[in-house]
């Protein structure tokens, strides 16, 4: 291969990368504008987790504290679970948004343009991740208002928040796949919640696993939501964390699950997008 051909290839690769970024950014902006112009979407998807917090803390809190180690307030136990739940629920918007774009013919328009093939998906997942960040930060404020406290210092607490956002980002790709395969907003919404329930509720997100029947304990132990929530509890509760494993093991397992979801759903979604 001659030097000029190699040089041309490099230029070509560089240009592609530049377009992938700039086109992705154009679509991220477009999706963010939608969030701003349709604030009801964000408002209602934020109200829901707030209601969960109030429900769990004030309705179940008293009973729940009996199942917790002494000295551990339920709200401190609960919040990492609520964060993860908030992030995952908010990520369903990726599937809904893509199904809407497909239905309205916007995806056809994008695919007929000389834009980067990755931009529709990267713009969507990035904008939705920004919305997730907004909701998680709002939840943090609510958490503080209902008495949530960090027991292992601020840096670790921040790491828990960043981890929550990473979980949300990974799930946007899972729902991107759902949106592209199901192609209808209603189907995506129904499927999302069916998909979410065994993960979010059959986990340690809201209650300690010690009261589960043994088969459920077995599931909860390998359930990535449990692993993430336990990790974030290590980071916010410190020595009070009922997780059992040590922090490093949890961090390692959490990262592995995060990468595994991306490794599965990014290529699947991209392949599906190219073919639809």
């Amino acid at each position: 291969m001659s030097a000029t051909v190699t040089a041309e290839r490099t230029v070509d690769t560089e240009r592609r990368l530049r377009y992938a970024i700039s086109d992705g950014w154009v679509l991220t902006k477009r999706n963010l504008i939608t969030y701003v112009r349709k604030p009801d979407l964000l408002v209602f998807s934020t109200i829901q987790p707030v209601m969960f917090v109030l429900l769990f803390v004030y309705v179940f809190g008293g009973a729940m504290s009996l199942a917790l180690p002494p000295g551990l307030p339920y709200v401190d136990f609960l919040m990492p679970g609520i964060f993860v739940q908030t992030a995952i629920f908010a990520a369903t918007q990726t599937g809904v948004g893509l199904a809407e774009d497909l239905k309205k013919g916007l995806v056809d328009r994008f695919r007929s343009l000389p834009m980067a093939r990755s931009a529709v998906l990267s713009g969507r997942t990035l904008a939705d991740s920004a919305a997730i960040a907004f909701q998680v930060i709002l939840m943090t404020v609510v958490a503080v208002l209902v008495g949530f406290q960090l027991h292992a210092g601020l840096p670790k607490g921040m790491l828990a928040i960043v981890g929550t956002l990473a979980v949300g980002y990974a799930f946007t790709w899972m729902f991107a796949f759902a949106g592209l395969s199901l192609k209808s907003v209603e189907a995506v919404q129904a499927a999302s919640f069916t998909l979410i329930f065994p993960f979010v509720f059959a986990s340690t997100a809201f209650v300690p696993a010690s009261t589960f029947p043994s088969w459920l304990q077995a599931w909860s132990k390998v359930n990535p939501v449990s692993i993430w929530v336990d990790t974030f509890r290590d980071l916010t509760l410190g020595a009070l964390s009922p997780g059992g494993e040590n922090l490093m093991t949890h961090l390692w397992q959490s990262t592995a699950w995060f990468l595994a979801i991306l490794a599965i759903f990014v290529p699947l979604s991209v392949r599906l997008y190219r073919r639809t």
Binding site: Y19, S22, D23, V26, L27, R30, I33, T34, R37, K38, L102, K103, K104, G105, L106, D108, R109, F110, R111, S112, L113, P114, M115, A119, K183, S184
Partner: protein, 333 residues
């Protein structure tokens, strides 16, 4: 071949066991309007989707502006514009933001994208609505906005998939004017439609497509000549006697003819014997005592052509539109 702006050869596409295209050959010259006419499900949309790189053909070849639609899909996308059946605009963006976004995705620098967006919206009389979100637009405005989006990259070849379906008569005429203007500027336009009058008015050449095959191709006049010169159209005053009238006159022409019971009309191709046959028809009908509401010699319409070519009327196969489909329902547009 290099002179053709669009050229397809033996295009085939199936969705499962539904054969949407069964060998489509097209040739479109530069700066012309080419009409692809056919009922729903004929394969119009599938053809457009292949030519705009949204689908790959199972068999056959297609070139647009000298680019192979499969091999050179990427460079091809720089020179085409597509306005589909459903106005593909983002409802939550303003009109201007929509066009600017598409301009940016054609990789125009931001100021240039903005300049062109303003210019093009002004041209299509959307300036006043430019800063309103697209969801406030009427159906006709949305189509115009969609067309703006397809033009912001200054395409050499423009694909319009049923550009007037669902539009009110005024918006329809506005759309026709726009299409003529674009052609005058040198844009090659491939237009699909189910409306005969639309291609009759706009298209330089027409391909009639039915169940995945081109069944006739030519200018509007050529297609009309295929029916055989002029047509004698007789409308009876009393619809119940249309059968009698048909019996009296159908044998007069060189062959063929049609009876429309709904409107009480008999049409007979008359070749170049128009006046003689007309006189004889009047005589016979008068002798039979059949009163007429109307009798005339006319050039055949594309309706006559479609009827002659396919054995069914152009719009009878019309079905309710389905959104977000394609593929699954198979034979479509």
């Amino acid at each position: 071949m290099a002179d053709q702006m669009i050229r397809t050869e033996g295009l085939r596409k199936s969705f499962g066991d539904v054969h949407a295209l069964k060998g489509v050959d097209l040739d479109v010259e530069p700066a012309t309007v080419f009409g692809l006419l056919g009922p729903n499900g004929a394969g119009k949309t599938t053809t457009v989707r292949i030519l705009t790189t949204l689908l790959t053909p199972d068999e056959g070849q297609a070139e647009v502006a000298g680019f192979d639609v499969v091999r050179d899909a990427e460079p091809l996308r720089h020179v085409i514009g597509l306005a589909g059946q459903s106005a593909a605009v983002d409802e939550n963006l303003t009109g201007l933001e929509n066009i600017e976004m598409v301009g940016r995705l054609y990789h125009l620098p931001a100021p240039e994208a903005k300049r062109r967006a303003v210019e093009i919206m002004d041209r299509f009389e959307l300036s006043e609505a430019a800063h309103r979100t697209a969801k406030t637009y009427s159906g006709g405005m949305r189509r115009r906005l969609d067309l703006c989006a397809s033009l912001v990259g200054r395409p050499t070849v423009l694909f319009l998939d049923e550009p007037t379906t669902g539009l009110d008569p005024r918006s329809r005429i506005e759309m026709w004017d726009i299409i003529r203007e674009l052609q005058d500027e040198g844009t090659t336009i491939l237009l699909t439609t189910q409306y005969l009058d639309e291609v009759d008015r706009l298209a330089d050449r027409i391909a009639v497509i039915d169940v995945g095959k081109v069944i006739a191709e030519g200018t509007s006049d050529e297609l009309k000549t295929r029916v055989g010169g002029e047509v004698l159209a007789i409308r009876v005053a009393d619809r119940s006697r249309v059968g009698e009238a048909a019996g009296a006159v159908l044998g007069l022409g060189p062959g063929g003819g049609a009876v429309d019971n709904n409107i009480g009309e008999v049409t007979v191709p008359v070749g170049d014997q128009g006046p003689a046959i007309l006189t004889e028809a009047v005589r016979r009908l008068d002798a039979a005592g059949i009163a007429l509401a109307d009798i005339a010699l006319r050039r055949p319409t594309l309706d006559d052509v479609f009827m002659a070519l396919t054995g069914h009327a152009a719009e009878e196969a019309e079905q309710p539109k389905e959104n977000g489909k394609r593929g699954r329902r198979g034979r479509r547009g």
